[in-house]
């Protein structure tokens, strides 16, 4: 008896057990009673930092989670690189890319280029206004990355609008992540707490030097502190991370 027969025979059993699993999950979900919990406190204290509560939670209270999340993306980018030969044990393997150039049609050429610039501008707006309006570094970075995708799909890898090499994308990504890490370290050095929002100086009793508060406070009506800078770092990182992934996946050799 080979595995295929066993597989067919056992489908029913597995389906029954998955059914049991689903019944319990659905039962739990439908008998839910939700309490506001910590969200209420965040909504209460958040407005004194920045208007957008979600950004405040992401970059202030749970800024450390966001750091972890950024590093998941970095790990994925490195892993995709390893898969296609960069950093494999025993020396790098160069992949010959076949999708390097492509001849766009006239319609594509006329519409793609301006659209790319509009999308990039939109992404920058989303990033910089992340603490006031719905948006932020992740959203802005991924919007800019879509512009890169568009340009790669229309013009090919080699001759696209951005003409970013793999190396420079990597440097961008490293710089983005280092901005985040170093702002966190600044908080650690000045107040003793990692990722303390130095610019906003929410707890003045910690003895943060005034020059540092002035340096890192964002020139804005609200008192967002380091959040906009973190947004910029995350945007750089997300943008270059997605771009690297798409470059690597599109460059995979078509046998």
């Amino acid at each position: 008896m080979n595995t295929k027969d066993i597989y067919e025979m056992r489908t029913v059993v597995a389906a029954v057990f998955l059914g049991i699993f689903s019944i319990f999950v659905l039962k739990a979900l439908t008998s839910f009673e939700i309490i506001p919990g910590v969200s209420y406190v965040y909504n209460l204290q958040g407005p004194s930092i920045a208007p957008n509560m979600i950004t405040v939670i992401l970059f202030d209270w749970r800024g450390y989670d966001t750091l972890g999340e950024a590093f998941i993306l970095i790990t994925a980018v490195f892993t995709t690189g390893i898969l296609f030969g960069r950093g494999v044990l025993g020396g790098d393997v160069k992949v010959r890319d076949t999708a390097a150039t492509r001849q766009p049609s006239v319609v594509q050429k006329v519409f793609a280029a301006p659209l790319v610039f509009i999308i990039v501008a939109f992404g920058i707006v989303i990033t910089l206004g992340g603490h006031i309006t719905p948006g932020g570094g992740f959203q802005g970075g991924s919007v800019i990355a879509t512009a890169f995708f568009l340009s790669v799909v229309v013009f090919g890898l080699r001759k696209n609008v951005f003409s970013l090499s793999h190396r420079s994308l990597e440097t961008f990504e490293g710089v983005g992540a280092l901005i985040y890490l170093c702002l966190g370290l600044a908080g650690l050095g000045l107040s003793g707490y990692y990722l303390y929002n130095v610019g906003a100086d929410f707890y003045p009793g910690l003895g943060v030097a005034q020059w540092a508060v002035n340096l890192l406070s964002y020139p804005d009506a609200t008192n967002a502190g380091i959040i906009p800078y973190l947004n910029i770092g995350i945007a750089l990182k997300v943008l270059s991370g997605f771009c690297t992934i798409i470059t690597v996946l599109m460059g995979a050799e078509k046998k």
Partner: protein, 127 residues
């Protein structure tokens, strides 16, 4: 009415998780399995989003008028629960990262086996 919306949203989220598990367990195509993994993640995201939903609540972004009038307590009472949304944002990025790596691996496996059938790819692992 709003309670119904929440209930049905939870049901849909649960169904997404279940469909994803079904795809992982029973579908042979590698890409379908990967889609299954994504569906599980999306289902969990929908659970979190629905947890953030508050009947009759407002968007958790404070307006300038409300802020300057000092009614922050009212805002906190009215606004939707904001913590789950932040968690969802994190999980979306996790999902995207896993997706990228899984697709990369499946490209490599396809180049080697010329097939996306999991039964075919894992054929030689039968004991």
């Amino acid at each position: 009415m709003n309670v119904d919306v929440q209930l049905w949203s939870f049901v849909v989220a649960g169904l997404l998780v279940i469909i994803g598990l079904y795809a992982i367990a029973f579908m042979d195509n590698l890409v379908k399995k990967i889609i299954g993994v994504m569906l599980v993640g999306d289902g969990v995201n929908l659970v979190l989003i629905t947890e953030g939903f508050k009947p009759g609540g407002i968007v958790p972004i404070i307006s300038e008028k409300l802020f300057s009038s000092g009614a922050v307590g009212d805002f906190a009472n009215d606004a939707a629960y904001s913590l789950p949304f932040a968690l969802v944002l994190t999980n979306i990025v996790i999902g995207a990262s896993t997706l990228a790596v899984l697709l990369g691996i499946s490209i490599k496996l396809y180049q080697h086996y010329r097939s996306l059938s999991v039964a075919h790819i894992f054929q030689e692992d039968d004991a």
